[in-house]
């Protein structure tokens, strides 16, 4: 088989729709175009049946009742609805919320907005490996804490939080627990019947489904209540108005069902590929894995290549599609806030690459990636004054660099 370039290793950003999923979606874009809310004819009934089948598929995948799933436009909307909806409904009980510094921006920016309208938010630091210390979390919970939000699997470093233990703690303390599970389905077991989670956000396009659709789990026993964000025709029991996109929902149901079916065979395959990639890259000096390697999904590898800047490395490896924690790839000119929260220094944060592999990744692609990285990292290190200093035995991290501020002054002229 010939290798097709570029190679996609950015499945934590999004995934290709599985052809088996697309096939199930197609009829709802063509012949079966009814509005699922139309109760007076067969077009509507057919669409409604498809939506309810998908709801059951999603519920079965994550171990809840289908009445506990509502459709949204994606995980960002689910997170917004969960956090704003619960905070505003329960604000009489207290106005304190807790989250983690390494959460996705969908959570962090929603928390900022809640701060703006009068809530108080604690942003906890994770440990160096990206995991939460339960004692520190317990200590942060106050009598007026109403809500905690934690991601199941981190999008940058792939670490898996102990959702079961955190859920128990929240239940004991009477705190509503929201989990961002956008990166979890198909990667770890998600079984809501066994864990104490009140709200959970899902996305379809991270799991080989279509973009533009997600879901929110809202626990019924004990019941969790939310104020809606989007008002209108009262769809989704009033939690989220708006005509349901039948084809996307069908795609999400099919994608979730497939992900669960394939996990037992797929995870060992992905783990072997990831471990091969890791071993190949660790052949080089000064290579660091970011985040815990054990409590991590098989699909993710986040690595810093010390003394090489991330963006120039990305330019050198343009035959593979990956993400970098380098400032230069973001508009903010700040390196990855996730890696900074782990206590990684700026150099290592700037030098990080996230590889995220998928159902469609082949061993041949991994072999090509290892060779490409070995070549290009060596080439860039030949160009790097920091590598030269390191080779000369100079302690680069503690070297007295010129003040950052001076450079800024020059730019302003």
């Amino acid at each position: 088989m010939t290798l097709k370039l570029p190679i996609y290793l950015d499945s934590a950003a999004t995934t290709k729709i599985d052809p088996r999923v697309l096939e199930q979606m197609m009829p709802y874009l063509t012949e079966e175009y009814g509005n699922p809310a139309s109760r007076s004819h067969s077009f509507g009934w057919t669409a409604e049946a498809a939506v309810e089948k998908a709801r059951k598929q999603v519920a079965d995948t994550v171990g809840c009742d289908e009445k506990e799933i509502i459709w949204t436009s994606g995980a960002t909307e689910s997170i917004n609805l969960a956090l704003k909806g619960a905070a505003q409904f329960y604000q009489e009980k207290g106005k304190h919320l807790i989250t983690i510094k390494t959460e996705h921006k969908a959570t962090l920016d929603t928390m900022r907005e809640l701060e703006r309208i009068g809530f108080e938010v604690t942003y906890l630091n994770p440990e160096e490996n990206g995991l939460i210390d339960l004692n520190k979390l317990a200590a942060a919970i106050r009598s007026d804490t109403i809500l905690l939000s934690v991601m199941f699997v981190n999008n940058e470093i792939g670490v898996i939080q102990d959702i079961s233990a955190i859920g128990k703690l929240c239940r004991e303390k009477g705190v509503i627990f929201h989990v961002d599970a956008a990166q979890a389905v198909g990667k770890v077991d998600v079984n809501l019947s066994e864990i104490s989670v009140d709200l959970m956000s899902f996305s379809a396009h991270k799991v080989y489904g279509p973009k533009g659709v997600g879901a929110l789990y809202i626990r019924r026993k004990p019941r969790v209540r939310l104020l809606p964000l989007i008002h209108g025709g009262g769809h989704e029991r009033g939690f989220r108005s708006g005509t349901l996109p039948t084809h996307q929902i069908v795609g999400m149901g099919a994608a979730f069902e497939l992900a669960k079916q394939e996990m037992p065979t797929e995870l060992p395959r992905l783990r072997a590929l990831r471990d091969k990639l890791l071993a190949g890259l660790q052949n080089m000096e000064e290579v660091y894995v970011n985040g815990d390697l054990e409590q991590r999904v098989a699909q993710n590898l986040n690595i810093s290549f010390n003394y090489v800047e991330g963006e120039s490395l990305m330019m050198a490896i343009k035959d593979i599609a990956v993400s970098s924690g380098s400032a230069c790839t973001s508009a903010s000119l700040e390196p990855s806030y996730v890696l900074r929260a782990l206590g990684r220094n700026d150099e290592l944060a700037h030098s990080s690459i996230r590889f995220s592999i998928s159902r469609f990744t082949t061993e041949q692609e991994i072999d090509y990636t290892i060779k490409l990285l070995q070549d290009k990292v060596s080439k860039l290190r030949e160009l790097s004054p920091l590598w030269e200093m390191y080779q000369d035995g100079i302690d680069v991290a503690n070297f007295q660099w010129a003040e950052h501020g001076n450079q800024r002054d020059v730019i302003l002229h």
């Binding site: 963006e311 330019m315 150099e347 160009l383 450079q407 020059v410």
Partner: protein
């Protein structure tokens, strides 16, 4: 980041990569930037007895436009007197490489590196 062809060309074929003997009295070394900011440039010039720059070498840790900016200035410096070298401005570099606004700081760093190398040479040869 969409780079100009000139940046890509310098990035893929950097000129004058290397190191001169920093203890040589004819060599001036400038190292500017900081790893924490994502850019470090080391620029070295070798100045002849007639005050003309005979050779220039660089090593750069940074993004594509930082590497291209330093590669370009090593080409420009050769054959210039120190006074002429002082006249190279960051906007000359930015214009030549068609740097986008967010990358202007790379050209500023290259200008700083030239000045630092000249200062080091002058300090050695007072």
């Amino acid at each position: 980041m969409a780079y100009s062809n000139k940046v890509v060309e310098h990035y893929e074929n950097p000129r004058n990569v290397g190191t001169l003997d920093k203890n040589d009295a004819h060599v001036g070394t400038g190292m500017v930037g900081a790893p924490a900011c994502g850019d470090v440039m080391k620029l070295q010039i070798k100045v002849g007895d007639n005050g003309v720059i005979e050779d220039a070498k660089f090593k750069t840790y940074g993004c594509g436009s930082a590497i291209a900016s330093s590669s370009l200035v090593t080409e420009w410096l050769k054959g210039k007197t120190l006074d002429e070298a002082q006249q190279i401005k960051n906007m000359d570099i930015a214009e030549e490489l068609e740097l986008p606004p967010v990358k202007i700081h790379c050209s500023v760093l290259a200008e700083d590196a030239i000045k630092a190398a000249i200062d080091d040479y002058k300090a050695k040869n007072k």
